[in-house]
């Protein structure tokens, strides 16, 4: 490994992975064009969760601010576009932009106070915010309360459900969803790569490794944390709109529950936090596994899928605490020097009580 010069190696690693994954995606996609609905659904879910995890990664991975409330942004996106569509018959594409803007504003409003908190206090605060949003929406009659909202079908001239790019709805040829999913995943990935390679990315990593040191060196810590949360929130909200259009039904439980926030973080963590390839790998492994175990073992109240899923999470946390992406780097030495995430691990080894340098 390249040892003490991590940045060049890092770029190579992430680009190599992006290339590999693009190839793998193409290999799956081409046969899929002739494949079934179940495979398409699985692929859309993988794309959705990898994008959600990538957006989470910008704040949670690069900047080290662990959010367990990202579902709130997701819900804002889903509800904004859906309400604009139902109330004013506006295209979800406009709703997607409006949702992203709203989520960004919301992110700034909560970010200002909450970013003063360190480590676990921050994580619990994001849980609290997410739960407050869930309770508010579940009791807000205007947006359908706990019952939720259904998005009306686009209908063709024969009054049957139809497809429309303008209204982001594909009832006949569901490949439209796949194309939008790929486009969104590409957008999120490119933004993550740009951030990682830019000045902002270096500042975020400095904040993650040692907030006090970063501040001492003149990094405007609050400003860069806010930039990270705004980008993360806006992208998450856009994916929320896509999800609403994909399911054509939303309620507070499916769009804002805590389990969703946790799953988003989990995908990134299993893949490898703070790397661009991590969320892609995490989603490509975790989502098919979860769907397959559910269809093979689940059903009729059987929860063996949960058991397997939980067991797998424990095994990976214990034996591969830096995520699956670490598997691609050989040997213990490389693992502890190649990436900024691993510096955190090295710090934790030197001073266990720091518990992973969460920037206090």
């Amino acid at each position: 490994m390249s040892g003490d010069r991590p940045t060049a190696a890092m770029r190579q690693v992430s680009w190599a992975w992006v290339g590999l994954i693009a190839l793998a995606a193409a290999a799956i996609l081409i046969p899929l064009m002739f494949g079934g609905v179940a495979q398409l659904n699985l692929l859309v879910l993988v794309l959705l969760y990898s994008s959600l995890a990538q957006a989470w990664n910008i704040l949670g991975g690069f900047a080290g601010q662990v959010s367990l409330g990202n579902a709130a942004f997701f819900g804002i996106g889903a509800y904004t576009s859906t309400m604009m569509l139902i109330e004013w018959n506006l295209s979800p594409w406009l709703g997607m932009i409006a949702g992203a803007v709203l989520a960004a504003v919301f992110a700034v409003i909560i970010g200002y106070p909450v970013f003063r908190l360190g480590g676990h206090y921050f994580a619990i605060a994001t849980i609290a915010l997410g739960e407050i949003m869930l309770i508010m929406f579940a009791n807000w009659g205007f947006v359908g309360g706990a019952v939720g909202l259904s998005i009306p079908f686009i209908r063709g001239e024969d009054r049957r459900p139809a497809d429309s790019w303008l209204f982001m709805q594909f009832n006949l040829n569901r490949e439209g969803y796949l194309i939008i999913g790929i486009a969104l995943a590409a957008l999120v990935t490119v933004i993550a790569i740009l951030i990682q390679r830019s000045k902002i990315g270096y500042y975020l990593r400095a904040i993650k490794n040692d907030e006090l040191a970063a501040r001492t060196l003149g990094v405007n810590v609050l400003r860069y944390k806010l930039i990270a949360i705004v980008i993360s929130a806006a992208l998450t909200a856009m994916l929320g709109t896509f999800y609403a259009q994909y399911l054509l039904f939303i309620d507070p439980e499916t769009t804002m529950r805590l389990e969703l926030s946790v799953l988003i973080a989990l995908v990134a963590i299993l893949g490898g936090v703070g790397t661009v390839a991590g969320p892609l790998i995490g989603a490509a492994v975790l989502i098919p596994l979860s769907e397959l175990t559910r269809s093979a073992l689940g059903g009729a109240g059987n929860t063996l899928d949960l058991v397997l899923y939980g067991g797998l999470i424990i095994i990976i946390s214990v034996f591969q605490p830096n995520g699956l992406v670490a598997l691609t780097r050989r040997g213990g030495k490389g693992r502890s020097t190649a990436l900024p995430t691993d510096r955190q691990e090295a710090m934790a080894e030197e001073a266990p009580l720091l518990g992973g340098g969460d920037g206090r």
Binding site: L304, G310, G311, I314
Partner: protein, 292 residues
Amino acid sequence: MDVLLQAIASGLLIGMVYALISVGLTLIFGLMEIVNFAHGEFLMLAMYAAFWGSLLFGLDPMVSLPATVLALAALGVLTYYGIIARILKAPMLAQIFATFGLGLLLRGLAQFFWTANFRTVPDSFLAGLFGGTVRVGAVSLGVPQIAAALLAGLAFAGLYLFIRHTRTGLALQAVAEDRGTAALMGINSDRMFALGWGLGAGCVGIAGAVLASFYYIYPSVGVLFALIAYIVVALGGFGSVPGALVAGLLVGLVEVVSPTLFGFSPAYKYAVVFGLYLVVVLIRPRGLFGQF
């Protein structure tokens, strides 16, 4: 006025239970800075232990309480040696998700073996004691709730005396303070950590046994209790035992009193509790009594 008094009394009683559930979490965090995200599932298992004791052996949850506490303590120690000891040096995120995975696993197993049905312990001793309710002036309180609060108080007192006034308790404090120096004094931190997990899970065992006397028992019963426990622990300050007590009472009080006092729907009560946490940590970023 009577309504308010009633709400305050009920709030304090449930607050004691919250405090008891939370103290295990905060104890473990104080020792090794790990949040146990399977805490709610530990509570769920304790409640099921009481339930099965009653159904299979005809033992009242109060009679089987010692066994439940021991079983939970064993589970805590097992969790420490099986999982936690291996991830002490792992990044914080891996630690969070290891215990989260354990929670999923336990919840899945519970639902697989025991179904998702809601269960109750029929004719529990506490529910029948003194006809089930006690009236003090205009305030009427459930006997099981009073007993739960009293037991929680006893457990707190016991825990406090143990930590403050026994050699082992002092060793626990030493390890929490500084692992390295404690090791130089000949304290085996590994055993202290295991003890911490045993104690923490044991406290949940008490809470579970009491709750089983008057609460529904189902595989995801721990989820809401755990969520409240995280808020309580963070509100009181991670690692602070007195903090857990004060914050538990405060959360119970706010949860029950605020809808009565301000006249909004109880549906919003948890939103107020979470809001309270945000307000407190914005003023005191390390909770009420936190050092971490």
